[in-house]
Symmetry: C2
Subunit: 353 residues, 2 copies
């Protein structure tokens, strides 16, 4: 399909330092594409960033039929702009859409449009250390109908937002509360999909965790409330007695692209890694035995976010003395190095815009 581009007449001011609050500044343009039952996905276009006009009965407002993605564009020292494994985001978008009964997109085609959008907004990719351009593709159901059934029309949009460094002033390990009451997801539910309802359902647990002095929540499985699943917007890894353990994809956790990349790296490096069920009791036992050597969350936002402390039912696990571990640091340096074009991209993970 041919992409129509309408240039914005007025250009906004770009951030002038690395102090950019997350997800509040948007670039001059956005990508939009529509779906209708008889036309399929059509009318791909880049237009000025502008408000959306929707019927109050549009299904997105009532039954939550929506999916999204999150990835970043990075500026290299020699002023190229790189995306990190973006094809995996559109693959996952379609996986999420399938769960939510949303029609799939042509992954290659939409990736092509994304590249055109980022190309147009190239000057918005910040160059300050640790900054990047956050990319948010999302699909919403737009049919004006209160019938509880899949929508007959959708809108796919891509908006772009320059973001500051996740860690300002050096990597700081986080404190995380193991949630024992609220549930994020369960087998047969939507946990493996990146869909809106999975996030707001965690706000109460998040608020409780923060009140008690934590930064985030570690979710347990919804059935037994024993098996470790993931952190708010991150997958979780542990180094136990020299082996790296991460929860297997049970159907209720998100298949993180950072998680996949780390597993691939560790296997290349011949570090013992194990994707399996791991219970919070087992983790605590490992901690008591002095075998819990490192813990870190992984995701597009931070790449690696070391966990310095876990709080579980009044028990505290302090990990690696609240310091980032050697392996966490190596993974962080490797992946951010590849993303920034400072390390050899030997796996072909980056895509230049």
């Amino acid at each position: 399909m041919s992409l129509n581009i309408v240039e914005a007449s007025h250009k906004k001011a770009k951030p002038e330092s690395e102090k950019i609050p997350f997800g509040r500044t948007f670039t001059d343009h956005m990508f939009v594409m529509d779906y209708e039952e008889n036309k399929g996905w059509h009318e791909p276009r880049i237009v000025p960033y502008e408000p959306l006009t929707l019927d109050p009965a549009a299904m997105i407002f009532h039954y939550g039929q929506t999916v999204f993605e999150g990835l970043k564009a990075y500026r290299t020292d020699d002023d190229r702009v790189l995306l990190f494994r973006p094809e995996k985001n559109f693959e996952r978008l379609n996986l999420s859409s399938d769960r939510l009964s949303i029609p799939p997109v042509d992954e290659q085609e939409v990736l092509g449009y994304l590249k055109e959008l980022v190309q147009l907004e190239k000057d918005w990719v910040p160059s300050f250390e640790g900054t990047s351009l956050y990319i948010r593709p999302f699909i919403i159901a737009t049919e004006p109908s209160l019938a509880v059934a899949p929508s007959k029309s959708y809108k796919l949009m891509i908006i772009l937002s320059p973001v500051g460094p996740y860690f300002s002033g050096g990597i700081k390990p986080v404190t995380i509360n193991v949630e024992d009451k609220f549930t994020r997801a369960v087998k047969g539910g939507t946990g493996m999909a990146k869909t809106a309802g999975n996030y707001s359902s965690g706000y109460q647990a998040q608020a409780k965790a923060v009140e008690e002095g934590n930064n985030d929540v570690l979710w347990l499985d919804g059935v037994e409330k024993r098996y470790i699943e993931e952190v708010g917007s991150m997958n979780i890894f542990f180094k136990i007695d020299g082996e790296i353990v991460t929860p297997s994809l049970s159907g209720s956790i998100l298949q993180g692209i950072t998680r996949t990349s780390i597993l691939e790296l560790l296997r290349k490096w011949e570090v013992p890694v194990n994707e399996r069920r791991i219970s919070i009791d087992e983790l605590y036992q490992a901690y008591e035995d002095g075998k819990l050597e490192e813990a870190f969350g992984t995701g597009t936002a931070a790449v690696i976010s070391p966990v310095g402390e876990l709080n579980w039912l009044g028990k505290k696990m302090v990990i690696n003395d609240h310091e980032i571990g050697a392996l966490s640091q190596e993974l962080y340096d490797t992946i951010t190095g590849i993303q920034r074009g400072r390390k050899d991209d030997r796996y072909g993970w980056t895509v230049e815009v």
Copy 2:
């Protein structure tokens, strides 16, 4: 707060028969009220029904922070307009909001605005047998931010839609599939809240059920996949060996207002009723023993929707020979009679507009 009313200059044509498709026709006006962190809920207003304008980053599109309600206005034979226990809907709206970290509304105040809106749109309450005016209050998060955190601004809206009879040509018992793979809700999740994400997550199970010749889905609990929870948008009741059994409010099912009303009626009538856990195995055993006498869903849409057939893992339970049972019929007649002003409202359930 004083309610501002802007009248629509153009009035739409009202439906001229009882053949009104559900949730596609909307009246001339809607109610809107805004929330901002420092102002609280403010600027209640009735305005012409018109499209909403929202930033593409508005949080409703990304993290699903939203709740809704559903109730009806009925026209009596002597041309009065009645609401059925509307205070319960605003009580439940606040319960849902609490789960989704949305600030509560003043229930009495919003009920007052709703009455003003219905008063203004009185001519839209259809008079054909079985028709009514469906009322959809909903709250959406509007802050333009991609941070995974509660929104600092919200919009509460109420839209109205004339709807046709749920059953056209007499009550018809439905066929329902007992879902064994997908999960709707789990303890600690959002199942007890009326929030968007709970509905689209059921579309796949719904499509599968319909493909296999059913009308709807019966959900089992998310933990053991054994205990009966509810139907798509209805609570469920069984008559087993003379006793009425309905699943207790486990935290993962919606507290239906029709359910509450039926329990109250049955207790007044001194019919034995039991709110408790009931497993699908137990139900099947009762069926095999010839003790499953009636089954019916309850909700605002149909009031009572008799279940004629349940399909569970290839086993079929035919209930009361695919006919509505005597008790189901009596409950239906009583509640619809009260709603339409044809029966004495001895419990004070209706509110005249």
